[in-house]
Amino acid sequence: MKKAISANIAGTLFQIDEDAYIKLEQYFHRIEAGYNYSAEGKEIIADLEIRITELLIGRIKDRSSIITIEDVNWAIGVLGKPEDLGASQGNQSSGRDNPYYRVVRRLYRDPDNKVLGGVCSGLGAYFEIDPVLIRVIFVLLLFVGFGPLAYIILWIVIPKAYTVTQKLEMHGEAPTPENIRKYS
């Protein structure tokens, strides 16, 4: 199961898979970074957004179809890689230097590794410690009295990581294509 979102590209509304959306967003960000976020770069991106809209409209059979990662990969293949677009080479570092790959870490409940509500696995991902350790602490807290209450409060207060973006934030990982694939 994938989460699809609505995206407005050059004034046209698309239903697009989340991984496809992230891929497209990264593509434009890399071009923009290659042009040092200049007015020229913004103008080129506006042109490219229009072209990608034309390409996607031509490719999907009807407007209600969902744009998949294959559609986006195809369109990027037609337009060319950011390096082909005349963006200056030196500025396109992928990885942590790129402002787009800036890593955000947030506390979420982890639905993929949960035992009860995913509170302990979420805390484990946040502090980068084994969730089993946290579970042991919570079990010990059972005997203190406020343990179960603390767990329930955390269950209510901490949001669950539903989307790929949230899962990346939960693990504090950069939205690189490999990481996105891992959680989608």
């Binding site: 409209i57 337009l79 060319g80 677009l85």
Partner: protein, 111 residues
């Protein structure tokens, strides 16, 4: 160094000239320029065109206007300016010279 790269570099140099040539007859919308250049195998990926158009527009060689489209997003129609026409004349001349120069080198040194 492979031959594909050399070919790509060669094409890149004359691409600006080709854009002005295409626009010299009438106003054309960006996607049509792409199609013409793709047909004649001047570009491989479409994206190479947009930075060139933007640069030529910023240099005052081109101007553009928006036109609505029933099929999709609005279309950017490019027009060659008077400066652009002057520039094209110069390029016409240097193209002729370049061909002659290369031709004479080929004749003299290519067995």
């Amino acid at each position: 160094m492979n031959s594909d790269n050399a070919k790509a570099q060669m094409r890149k140099g004359v691409l600006e000239y080709c854009i002005l040539l295409i626009l010299s007859r009438n106003d054309v919308y960006a996607t049509d320029i792409i199609n013409i250049l793709k047909e004649s195998e001047m570009i491989v990926v479409e994206g190479t065109l947009y930075p060139l158009l933007t640069r030529q527009k910023n240099a005052g060689l081109l101007s553009y206007r928006w036109e609505e489209s029933t099929q999709g997003p609005p279309r950017k129609y490019y027009t060659i300016t008077e400066t652009g026409r002057q520039f094209l004349k110069e390029l016409d001349l240097s193209w002729e010279q370049l061909i002659q120069a290369v031709q004479s080198i080929r004749e003299k040194h290519n067995k």
